[in-house]
Amino acid sequence: MSGFRVFAAATLLAVATTAGADGGAVVAQAESDALVVTVFVAPVPLRAGPADVSVLVQSAGDGNSILDAEVSVLLSREGGVVARAYADHAQATNQLLYAARVEVPAPGAWRLDVAVERGEERVTVGAALKAAPGLAAPVRFWPWVLLPIVVAGSFLVHQWLSDS
């Protein structure tokens, strides 16, 4: 019983937490005298809804990752800025990346601007993004919605086998 409860609690905890995400497709790259900046966006293809923006900052000289830059992300469209976020390592799984989560409010054309500052050095890189319509909630959460069918179906098979 206690083992079951520990398992149940751990399961609920596991479901309740979300992992940091990063990666995705490269959407822009820029280089200054000192820095090389690469911007990734996930999901691929981009959809309306939550999106992960990850940024890799490298030294232009030796290609080494730079971990102490300040990175900000700006999502905008013709009407103005809709989301602004600071990207950092805490939100990234790959600790060489700076990551931020932004909400893409609607499908259509968007502009993403990433500003990287390190000391006197500042690099800005922009990308035009096209977001597809967001996935409907039942599609996003289909495994959870269909779970009872699987369990109840297995239970019925079990009962049928027990009977026969």
């Binding site: 206690s2 992992a19 940091g20 990666g23 497709a25 490269v26 999901p43 490298q58």
Partner: protein
Amino acid sequence: MNPVVSAALASWRYEPWLFVCLATTGWVYLRGWRSLARDLPERLPTWRAISFVSGLVVFFVAVASPLDAFAGLFLQVHMLQHFLLMMVAPPLLWLGLPELPLLHGLPERLRRDGLGPFLRWPVLHRVRAFLTHPVVCWLAFVVVTWVWHVPGLYEKALLDPFWHEVEHASFFFGSLLFWFPVIQPWPSTSTWSRWTMVPYLFLASLQATAFSALFVFSGRVLYPAYERAPRLGGLSALEDQRIAGAVMWVPGSFVLLTATMILVAGLLAPRLVRPGAPRRPTAAPRRPADGDILRWPVVGAVLRSRSGGLVLRSALFVLAMVVVVDGFFGPEMSPMNLAGVLPWTYWRPFVVIGLLVAGNLFCMACPFMLPRSVGRRLVAGSRPWPSALRSKWLAVGLLVTYLWVYEVFALWDSPWWTAWVIVGYFGGALVVDGIFKGASFCKYVCPIGQFNFVGSLVSPLEVRTRSLAVCEACSTQDCIRGRQGAPGCDLDLFLPAKVGNLDCTFCMDCVRACPHDNVGVLARFPASELCTDPPRASVGRLGGRWDVAALALVIVFGAFLNAAGMVEPVVGELQRLSTSLGLSSTAPVFTALVLLALVVAPCVFAAAAHWWGARLSLPQLDGRTLACRLALALVPLGLAMWADHFLLHFVNGGATALPVGARALGDVGLGVGAPDWSLSHAMGATGDGLMSLQILILDLGLLASLYLGWRVVRPSVERFGRATGVLAPWATFASLLFVIGVWILFQPMEMRGMLMAG
């Protein structure tokens, strides 16, 4: 260490799901291995357990370590990840001979009754025989290897986490199949000669060599994603690809060659297995775990002592008084007032969580008991509760009224009205228990108590006797009469005949009154009391209680109504309807909705279930019994909906008490600094994690309800097919409620009790 290397090594994926699954698998295996290794030490030596656990660790490293984080930047890292998933983890797992330890590690009942029918199922045996056929195993391995490395599919998996998981799963399971006939883990046997595994491995090695050579000798980058990726460490994409080929070629060939050598060596020098190895004496069976909370240190002592209960009740009483004072004299804006925040954002989720993880904790610490005790001392009520009202009908009416008032008068948005409700509650308890004897207010009047009684039907704890034999030898009946100043049960629950939690306030009076220390707070399987319908002390059989069924239905339908009342499409539709009817307020339409959901729908449900039961003429399950018990079987689903609803409020407004508390303290001259009202803003926490958790809670509620429904019907129906037919209409209805619940969760909700940002 170089900070870049250090950061790279810290790039682990935070995957609690994965960790829980692997840890549970390891725990079950070790539990079974320990029990089997006692009797079969030669079959299951320690190295087998080490091998299995190592396999799990390698799997975890492959999918959660920095290897995964860098797989999108370096092909060589990705190939190393695949190598671990295909060539290291599977053989280690099979070498642990996991089949019997995993089965024996499960609780006996789950193994015997749960898995037993599946394990004996001929269809499953045929599927297993097909899947473990060496030709199928070899082809599975080769096909997944080649198919997933086709550039289009590989890039799809690289950019989409879902397909990446699918890719890894197919590599892992394909490789498990591949290694199965090679290791042939006991107790499985093969009709094929073991020598056939030599060409099996040789052919696998050949195709792996061809595959690796493609990477090493190709003059172009096979996967454009790596060409677009930033280059770290000065390696070009083509150089990276060549190293990736070498990673697959050299260690892969080494593993396959080693396996071949071990296999051949074993065939040339076979060892005799001694099945008749002497048995070690088995350990004495363990005593069942003591699930009695009253025997726990500290917690048990607090619950047993009279002062413990008094302290809990006094603390909640003081809190209730503070809420009342702030409700009357504090700010009118609900999110800035303790009466607008504490009862609605905090108290409600805590009550439901308490019911789901323990039992009726709120009634145990109920603040309304204090004035009731005062009333008794002052007036010493001695009249019996009117016999016409000895049912739950009054409470059902009050509960419907409360839910109607809550919606129509927006109680959550009025600290002043909230304070009046609390005062009314105190007054009601004082008057009822001042006039009538026993705990009449709790048993027949209090809507909160009725909610808790019904909710606690699915709780994992129950107040009951430890040993019925002790009760049979006891003639004092102190548990109900009281003893030496310790009152007995005011709700007339005679402990030897008490079944379940209905009407039990967890007050512990019976615990203190029992002269034999024979009452405990014992663990049980949640909702198990609804599987059967024995006569219950002071309650009777639930199958004969329309009032209890009505109470359950109001609570179940109330959960969906209450949640639907705050989602935009429903609110908008009701407003549109009011406008089209020329009404100046939505109150009449809301009232109609409440009547429809809490009066008409339960009546229709009960009538339909009664008609269905009467038509079926099942033994021991007449129309009324079927209707009442199926109504109660819906309780887990209803409670899940309440839990989801309150969870959303709590997650969004969990920090609201801080600025409101600071404001209230400042008002009485105990300033702790200016309130930070930004904490009171709706956080709009609608992330995937929260939504997943909410749907999972609803899943569990539905499954528990369906299971209870099955347990209600099955004993009265002989054949499986007929039982499903009998239950089908009710199961369809429960599933429909589930779909409505999921739909509500997907809608944008009003963030009540919070200041809106912006």
